[in-house]
């Protein structure tokens, strides 16, 4: 058994990657998307679709997931599947709890990073040095990490003031920043409920008001990752380990070293994601990660192993999750939004002569609109499924042009190339 997964040859039937679209196109697409959302907002009166509160909450919700996704990206770009992200995040939350409580949030974040990196290191030892199947190692780490942290939590937190067997004492939050002036102006515009303008204001306000420094750190890390992996020698070598390790080795690249670096970094980022979660929640709690590591992994695949894509995937998930948590009304409006989006997709697919996909998209889209029209609300129990359904729908209907690192999941042994 191996971890590399079955390709089934589906990706063979789609077009090869085109030249990367220019930023302008993405910008126009974003504007168009906002227009549609704005339209739905006006039609349904569900202000939560674009309110600054939703956007801010989406950002907060997305950050831990995005960092997990970024962590996965580092590891998988070097050819190692990291299904242990969840476990490494757990280590991160614990590190933040243990150190953040005593020495402040930044110490906690650092400790989370270090502990996460420790988890990554174990994964590296198992997969790189011992050539263990990547999935096994990841599962083992995800299994052992909560056990270890709980074991230690009982030891360290039980008698601490405000702590318990399964939770740390409170951690202070890091400072939050707001762009002065802008926030209130945007707030005023948002209040007006103008079509599009207010929505844009809400979006911008959510992104510029009361933003945690840790969120900014995460944003910086995304740009840094893009730079390091695609513009530096280190990054090139690291990626080459995921594409063709034997080739890298033949050029004197120490594949083991780069894999170790990548996986440790992966663990560190996952740990950071966990630490940020803990700091934002003011404490470590057992079970706090709640599967965010897996969602991060999904957002990485969703994002096609690119930082921008990971951010988009995590953002989509965070947005839907924030929306469903903030109020059920918005989820009802989401039905209409999804319906419209699917119909748009159907038209696009029709023009690309992909009739089956277009047909399916139309049918599902119409069903969503009917659901919207015939009901007043989505049953509350089902609302929590919204982020998952949306992610699955987007993945199923968007064109799949996955470019998996070639050597992913395979073991590379020194001197066995060629």
């Amino acid at each position: 058994m191996s971890a590399s997964g079955l390709a089934v040859g589906v990706q063979e039937t789609v077009a090869p990657p085109r030249r990367r679209a220019s930023p302008m196109i993405y910008f126009l697409l974003a504007i168009a998307a906002l227009l549609v959302v704005s339209l739905v907002r006006v039609l349904t009166g569900a202000g939560n679709l674009t309110s600054s509160g939703t956007v801010a909450a989406a950002l907060t919700a997305a950050v831990p997931i995005a960092l997990a996704g970024l962590a996965g990206l580092w590891s998988e770009r070097a050819g190692v599947i990291n299904i242990g992200l969840e476990g490494m995040m757990v280590l991160g939350t614990f590190g933040a709890g243990l150190f953040g409580w005593q020495w402040g949030p930044w110490a906690g974040v650092l400790a989370g990073v270090v502990l996460g990196a420790f988890g990554g290191l174990i994964h590296a030892i198992a997969t790189v040095t011992f050539g263990v199947d990547h999935i096994i190692s990841g599962v083992a780490i995800t299994l052992a990490a909560p056990g270890l942290t709980l074991f230690l939590a009982k030891l360290y937190f039980t008698d601490a003031p405000g702590g318990g067997q399964k939770q740390s004492p409170p951690i202070e939050d890091v400072p939050h920043v707001t762009i002065p002036g802008l926030s209130s102006v945007l707030g005023d515009i948002e209040q007006q409920q103008w079509f599009f303008v207010s929505d844009l204001a809400g979006l911008l306000r959510g992104l510029t008001t009361d933003v945690s420094l840790l969120t900014l750190l995460a944003v910086v890390l995304f740009f840094a990752t893009a730079y390091v992996l695609w513009r530096t020698a280190f990054g090139l070598r690291l990626r080459s380990c995921g594409e063709a390790p034997h080739a890298a080795e033949s050029l004197g690249v120490n594949v083991y070293k780069y894999k170790y670096a990548a996986i440790t970094m992966s663990g560190a980022l996952a740990g950071l994601g966990g630490a940020i979660l803990a700091v934002a929640s003011s404490q470590f709690r057992d079970g706090q990660t709640g599967g965010r590591g897996y969602i991060g992994l999904a957002s990485m695949i969703f994002g096609n192993w690119r930082p921008g894509g990971v951010a988009a995937g995590a953002g989509l998930f965070g947005y839907t999750d924030a929306m469903q948590l903030r109020g059920e009304g918005a989820v009802h409006a989401l039905l209409l939004l999804l319906g419209i989006a699917l119909l748009v997709l159907a038209v696009v697919q029709l023009r690309a002569k992909r009739y089956v996909v277009a047909g399916v998209a139309t049918v599902i889209g119409v069903l969503f609109i009917l659901w919207f029209a015939l009901t007043d609300q989505v049953p509350p129990e089902l609302v929590s499924a919204a982020p998952y359904v949306v992610t699955l729908l987007v993945l199923s209907l968007a064109a799949q042009r996955l470019r998996v690192p070639k050597w992913i999941g395979r073991t590379h042994r020194r001197g066995e190339g060629g």
Binding site: A233, L236, E243, G415
Partner: protein, 482 residues
């Protein structure tokens, strides 16, 4: 084993598959440690424990299997491990300039910003050479560089090599194509079973003598005896058109017929549609248009399995990818491709006894060297794996055999055996589609020859009347067929 290479020469290292050439090269390039012995460069002893050490002392290697990352650009592949730095990252501008410069100086014609994935074989090889030159190597090791090239490309390569040599570079050239060796090398070292058996100079030996030094016995020659061609058509292909996933047409309006007892050879530079043709015939790749008939029956819409059941045998080009399950036993590999047919199966169940008995038969008849039939296919040598595949595909009396590079990477013994089996089956009215990069094999083993170029059959030849050079020029589109 001992070799001494003079500076500024082309030194050829010849030997059969498994003679230890590649191992030696890997040791020279620091990818493997020698158990004993030393390596000296310009008189100084070098300790080459990693490729980085080798690169540092000026050794560069062009591997037989290209060491390129498909998803990276040419530039990224070239600079990897020796990146020009600047401004906190890679200095892409400087790298691009340097690559263009080297490319122009040696006429390599390499474009730095293309994805390697999009390049053809010859281009990839030039990228490999450029990689080595980029690092300023003084000693170049080329491991079977001509295996995938057509004669014209080989000539170009040799031209490049001579140019490199004239600039004082030393080239170590590994090959088993002896006429090439004789034409380009200044010195020749012959290896057999891990030791040097002779060091000769090209002026002193003939290809024949060299070959016998290499093998230690006489060489087999690919040839057919009397014609067995009948006029019963077995495979009729009409207007076959295949498009790649990206919309490119890879096979266009291809039509041909193979009769019972006939071997049709397809010559062509790799990447001109051979693989797609084979996969289309096997039902692995969907057709855009066209019709395929087997023994007069339309099989265009049949699945791979149904085609196999109808009597199509398949020796794939890449046995590790398509031919065997390396982690399965020999007898399990016997079942592969015969999952619906006796003696491997009985109804919906496997017939283990039947499969094992038949595997033993193949092992005996085809001289597969193995301790027993329970070993994993992966522990056999390539030649023995190939013999097993041939034996398997010949069982169940196929009416058509699609043989893609049937003797690639096997030793002379296995080669002769495989040729003999094809001859025997042909005499029993088997129709064979033979695809090979080895023109001698094509010419010797075919009843008729066709040349494939950019997805079309552009010429056909009578193998008895054609020379490798003529074929070669047709393959590159330079020559005229009849």
């Amino acid at each position: 084993m001992n070799v001494a290479v003079r500076t500024g020469t082309v030194h050829a290292l010849v030997g059969e598959n498994g003679a230890g050439k590649s191992t030696l090269m890997k040791i020279l390039y620091g990818m493997q440690r020698p158990d004993e012995g030393t390596i000296s460069i310009d008189g100084t002893q070098a300790d080459l424990s990693t490729p980085a050490d080798a690169i540092a002392v000026g050794i560069g290697m062009v591997h037989q299997h290209f060491m390129l990352a498909d998803n990276l650009t040419v530039l990224e592949n070239v600079v990897l491990g020796d990146e020009p730095r600047g401004g906190g990252g890679i200095d892409f501008k400087a790298a691009r300039a340097k690559i263009r410069d080297i490319s122009a100086r040696y006429g390599l014609g390499v474009e730095p910003d293309r994805l390697v994935d999009e390049l053809g074989v010859g281009e990839r090889q030039r990228v490999e050479i450029l990689k080595v030159l980029f690092r300023g190597a003084r000693i170049l090791i080329l491991d079977e560089p001509t295996a995938v090239l057509v004669p014209q490309e080989v000539d170009e390569l040799f031209g490049n090599l001579r140019e490199l040599k004239s600039e004082g570079l030393t080239i170590l050239f590994i090959s088993h194509k002896l006429d090439e060796v004789l034409s380009v090398a200044d010195d020749i070292t012959v290896m057999r079973r891990g030791t040097t058996v002779a060091s000769v100079s090209p002026g002193d030996v003939t290809a024949r003598q060299l070959a016998e030094l290499m093998v230690g016995s006489a060489l087999p020659v690919p040839e057919l005896r009397e014609s067995t061609v009948t006029d019963t058509p077995v495979l009729e292909v009409d207007g076959l058109t295949v498009t790649a996933p990206d919309g490119r047409t890879v096979l266009e309006e291809m039509s041909f017929t193979i009769n019972a007892g006939e071997v049709l050879g397809i010559a062509g530079v790799e990447g001109n549609g051979q693989a797609e043709l084979v996969e289309a015939l096997m039902g692995i790749r969907p057709l855009q248009a066209g019709r395929i008939a087997l023994q007069g029956k339309d099989i265009t819409k049949l699945s791979t399995r149904k085609r196999r059941d109808a009597g199509v045998g398949y020796i794939p080009e890449d046995r590790h990818r398509q031919g065997v399950l390396l982690e399965a036993t020999l007898w399990e590999n016997r079942i592969l491709g015969h999952q619906t047919r006796a003696p491997s199966v009985r109804g919906l169940l496997l017939n283990r006894a039947g499969a094992r008995a038949d595997t033993q038969r193949i092992v005996d008849e085809y001289d597969v060297r193995t301790p027993n039939i329970d070993v994993l296919a992966g522990s056999l040598s390539g030649g023995n794996q190939q013999k097993l595949i041939v034996g398997r595909e010949m069982s169940g009396n196929p009416v058509l055999l699609i043989a893609s590079h049937p003797t690639r990477g096997v030793d002379v013994g296995a080669q002769a055996a495989i040729w003999e089996q094809i001859r025997k089956a042909r005499a029993e009215h088997l129709a064979v589609l033979l695809i090979s990069a080895d023109l001698d094999e094509l010419i010797g083993m075919s009843d008729s020859l066709a040349v494939i170029l950019r997805g079309r059959l552009v010429a056909s030849y009578d193998p008895k009347a054609v020379t490798p050079e003529e074929l070669g020029s047709a393959m590159t589109g330079a020559g005229e067929g009849t």
